[in-house]
Symmetry: C2
Subunit: 351 residues, 2 copies
């Protein structure tokens, strides 16, 4: 790992927060900060034939990663990529249809599962690591680079449905009907994801986030088995390989289960979705954890008083503890640039 | 209100549970128990030109209401209707396209809102009350009749979007941008819903449920204002008119906010969605409240061990307190009849 010495790391507000440090201004980045709401992103998107080609082309992925940093001065860049590069590298090819989201050949049987590779084809993912290396070299010393992966449950839910669905029912049903088979898929994803994050960190990422965007559709018992436990296993593996790497988990929709995430040994931060009440989370979760979130993306889209009130309430709720300002979910493509500028100015008390 | 004397009421297991009584076997009904998973429902559905015509035809609505009682012997019948009869009766005409869900002309401006009636056209809803009266007369003395309405937030979210959406973003955005206008719509719905439930109870319903199916998409502050407070106002109005009417609130997706519902004076029960851990809810919520739920509809669809385990875990979690067995969300149209039979048999220890 290309980890900086502690004092250098602490010059990066994001890493300081992940080390539990409180500062006057919360560092800020936004989920999906590189993407369609930016005209400069839309301008380069057409340069690649497909969305995955875009992710796998280091010059393009690097440019997309850096665009929001240049424009807004966020405290962290997040590698421009997609959670579905893992199934893609396991041999389940992924495509993105314009405005339709991802498409994969659904995994329905034991034979489909047996058709997956044991481990990702790392040569296919090499451009991701190259992008990480290049971005890291391009960033100024106060901006941190975040790598990421999807959590096993979320990635598996796309692998089984073959697409996004309103509630990922196909994977939930698969797990009810064929729990052993589903556990085998989760095991493959735990191994692949831990190795993938480790490689991102060694290439230049300074922290990683595990996105469990669909954690919230699982009832509690299934949540513990398919969301929480696999994430805990990834954290343990990563900790064993790289003891100092900061790890953030983002279990969207798991507001009642945050205490269980907080108990994962080695986690540095928890990403909170919009349903979480900041004050309640700040009071309930251990002080060593950085809390990240959780402005409603629709408040950012709406602007005006809804935005100002949302920012102020978020800051007040997390006051007194290590906090990373973020949205509770990804920024929406329709979000006006001016609202993002207003957000950053208000956070830094310059607006 | 045609409320029965207390001793008669207690012969109905559902009403006993709503009075806080514990029994060996939890009474059971299922959300959407009348509907498409039943061949006898599909057989009569075509008798009406449209879904709302079906709801507004007492012979058909009565038959649909009674079908699941005859087949499964549930402890409660729920009036066959739809939450969108309220906007329909306020003058915002509603249609249902086959397999597409509801369609309404979206409310976008103050003028659209001013175009609504001050109060529902009760003549349009007269068939609903007639259905309630007829069903009540047809039920045996141990089966209770439940009336219902949608909560103001959920109904408003359809009125503004003009349809169902993945996260009711149009209404959330409307509420951020035009909170005063949105509050006016909510006020209209509070008045209409309270009056509507009162009329259902006077016609024959013995308990009512307020469905806030979309409570979960609101951040905490918006949740308190648009979901919790309006429901509390409906409960207060209903209590003032009919002090003994049992009222159940079903705030789907509000697992972290259940304590606030429990604090609503006059609420008899809370419907719990699949995200709620039964043991935790049973421990956290006051014993005077009946807890209703919360088997995953996908476990019922899956059947086998997932179903048996789900039932057993649900019963064990709510053991020792007043409990009404239900799903955590509506029964899915693909659910096999045999799985519902197995559920009822297991609950009554006859299977």
């Amino acid at each position: 790992m290309t980890a900086a010495a502690p004092d250098v790391a602490m010059a990066k507000p994001l890493l300081a927060a992940l080390a539990g440090e409180r500062r006057r201004a919360s560092p800020v980045w936004l989920m999906r900060q590189a993407g369609r709401y930016l005209p400069e992103y839309r301008a380069i998107r057409a340069s690649a034939a497909s969305f995955l080609d875009f992710c796998y082309t280091p010059t393009l992925a690097m440019e997309a990663t850096l665009q929001p940093i240049r424009r807004f001065g966020f405290d962290a860049a997040i590698l421009f990529s997609d959670i579905l590069v893992i199934p893609d590298a396991l041999g389940q090819r992924v495509s993105f249809e314009e405005g339709e989201g991802p498409r994969l050949k659904p995994i329905e049987t034991a034979a489909d599962l047996a058709g997956l590779a044991e481990a990702p084809d790392w040569s296919r993912l090499a451009p991701v690591f190259e992008t990480a290396e290049r971005v890291r070299a391009a960033l100024t010393s106060d901006v941190a680079l975040i790598g990421f992966c999807g959590a096993p449950w979320t990635v598996a839910s796309y692998m089984i449905a073959g697409r996004g669905t309103p509630d990922q029912a196909p994977a939930r049903l698969f797990a009810y009907r064929q729990p052993e088979l589903f556990a085998r898929l989760i095991d493959i994803l735990v191994e692949a994801s831990a190795a993938y994050l480790e490689r991102q960190l060694r290439a230049g990422a300074e922290a990683v986030q595990i996105f469990d965007s669909w954690a919230g559709v699982l009832p509690p018992a299934e949540f513990e088995r398919w969301s929480l436990a696999p994430i805990a296993r990834i954290v343990a593996k990563l900790r064993a390989a790289l003891p100092d790497a900061p790890i953030i988990a983002f279990p969207r929709g798991a507001a009642t289960e945050l205490g269980k995430f907080a108990a994962i040994d080695g986690l540095s931060g928890i990403g909170l979705d919009t349903a979480v009440e900041p004050r309640a989370a700040a009071a309930a979760l251990p002080a060593r954890l950085a809390l990240q979130g959780n402005l409603d993306p629709l408040a950012l889209l709406a602007g005006g008083r809804a935005l100002d009130d949302g920012i102020d309430r978020t800051l007040a709720g997390f006051a007194g503890r290590a906090h990373i300002f973020n949205l509770g979910h990804g920024i929406l493509p329709e979000t006006p640039i001016a609202h993002v500028e207003r957000l950053v100015a208000r956070l830094r008390k310059t607006g």
